[in-house]
Assembly symmetry: C2
Homo-oligomer: 247 residues x 2
DNA sequence: CGGCGTGTTGACTTCGATCAACCAATGTGG
DNA sequence: CCACATTGGTTGATCGAAGTCAACACGCCG
């Protein structure tokens, strides 16, 4: 039955979540592994998971047992407190890891939501720890990834603690641009996957302020913006804006 | 020569930077290690380093090769940008680790400064990685510590992004109180080791605003404050203040 | 003692929040 | 396919919390 075979083959292909033939490898995994070591990574990734726009990958409080590598799509993470306030703690794109916050207490401390249809690799954390006890470069790479997250958070603290509204938005746009570039997309032109409200939450601003800053940038010829579509016209202008001292 | 012997003994004691007889072990290292494993930790810690108030443990840009466990004292970490702005990213006390930010690029990304005379254990990072490849519980503990740092940073982002001045200061005081308590000190009474300016930088406020908030808390009978000496009179009052919605 | 760090307080300003109206895009059911 | 609802975004007017500028007080150390 050739049809059956074909179906089986496809299923296998889908189920076989191989790092060894994933072209995102360099983003989420260490370079310079031997062929053998790369094949062992395949064992580590237990499955994939597809999410539709708006779906939660995990929620705060849920038990932690895996981290996730984004194969495609776009996510946000946020923290809520009882009184209703919430803070978006980050936006994650292809090749980035989600779930590192859960290691500390074995429970997730934030929510991860897909902002567009997405697919992630599920990496059971015990597998990752096991394998990184054997593969030194994997261990080191993982430590670097966690550390990079800490450094990134410090950058956000700097942004929230010292920058004024327009500086924050400029920093945000430049950061997005740089990350899209690293993934082979245009540095100057992209669709925002998040709402003004979510940008505002991330930047510690109200959505109206974000909207006004977008308009102002447009008036000044720094960007062209129409809804979620953004084109950066003057990168240097944005950079200059960012380094203007407060006051 | 009995005197010589005594001197030698003391020197040895000082040089021998043993985790195995350090009473901070539970704070910075995993529980439930075997006697043998604990002795192996001793090899990991290569030396100690004393710092005077105001001295830098490391500076942004310096090469990273070790992390530091605080044996005694008090530190701040901060990031500067060219235009002169700076952001205090954290205050660290006994039993906490410093230097995790450096793993990512092999260079420190912030400055660590002693706010009082302090002593740290120097843990060469390659030793730590080596040992954690062998001791599973050490590996897991270290991952938890890094993850906890990420979660902590998210908390600060929430604070900076959504809280008003008095809420921030209340959160700050309660956090200090809780950490002092965990170390066996009074939960209600302590000396601040940092200036109003440093508190302000951490909380994203100007020093005048911090000073005013302190005065206000005093007027309302929540705390008694005199310079760097703080006594918390109404913990619940501070907590209530913290959970008041913006607006 | 005088000078400098640090902290407090007051008067005034400003940036971003708030409140509110309106518009554009998208989606849904008849 | 259109009428209508809903969600997301823009813009204006006003307000208020925190920043800024400035004067002064307090301790600490040489």
């Amino acid at each position: 039955m050739p049809q059956n075979n074909a179906a089986k083959k496809i299923t296998l292909e889908v189920v076989k979540t191989a790092c060894s033939n994933c072209n995102l490898r360099e983003l989420c995994m260490p370079l310079g592994l031997s062929r053998q070591e790369i094949e062992r990574l395949d064992e580590m990734v237990s499955s994939r998971r597809r999410l539709r726009r708006g779906e939660h990958l995990y929620r705060a409080g849920e038990h932690f047992d895996a981290i996730y590598a984004i194969r495609s799509g776009f996510f946000k993470t946020d923290v809520l407190i009882e009184d209703g306030r919430d803070q978006v703690t980050g936006f994650q794109m292809t090749g980035e890891l989600l779930g590192l916050d859960g290691i500390s207490t074995e429970a997730h401390s934030c929510n991860a939501v897909a902002l567009e249809d997405s697919e992630v690799c599920v990496i059971p954390f015990s597998h990752l720890e096991g394998l990184s006890r054997e593969i030194r470069t994997l261990q080191h790479h993982f430590h670097k990834v966690m550390s990079r997250e800490i450094v990134r958070d410090h950058g956000v603290m700097m942004l929230l603690g010292t920058m004024r509204a327009e500086e924050r938005l400029a920093a945000f746009l430049l950061n997005l641009s740089q990350r899209f570039t690293a993934r082979g997309y245009s540095p100057a032109e992209f669709y925002l996957r998040m709402t003004r409200d979510e940008i505002g939450s991330y930047l510690g601003l109200k959505l109206e302020t974000v909207s006004r800053a977008f308009s102002r940038f447009q008036e000044e010829g720094l960007i062209a913006v129409q809804q979620k579509y953004v084109r950066i016209l003057d990168t240097d202008g944005l950079k200059k804006l960012m380094s203007h001292q407060r006051g």
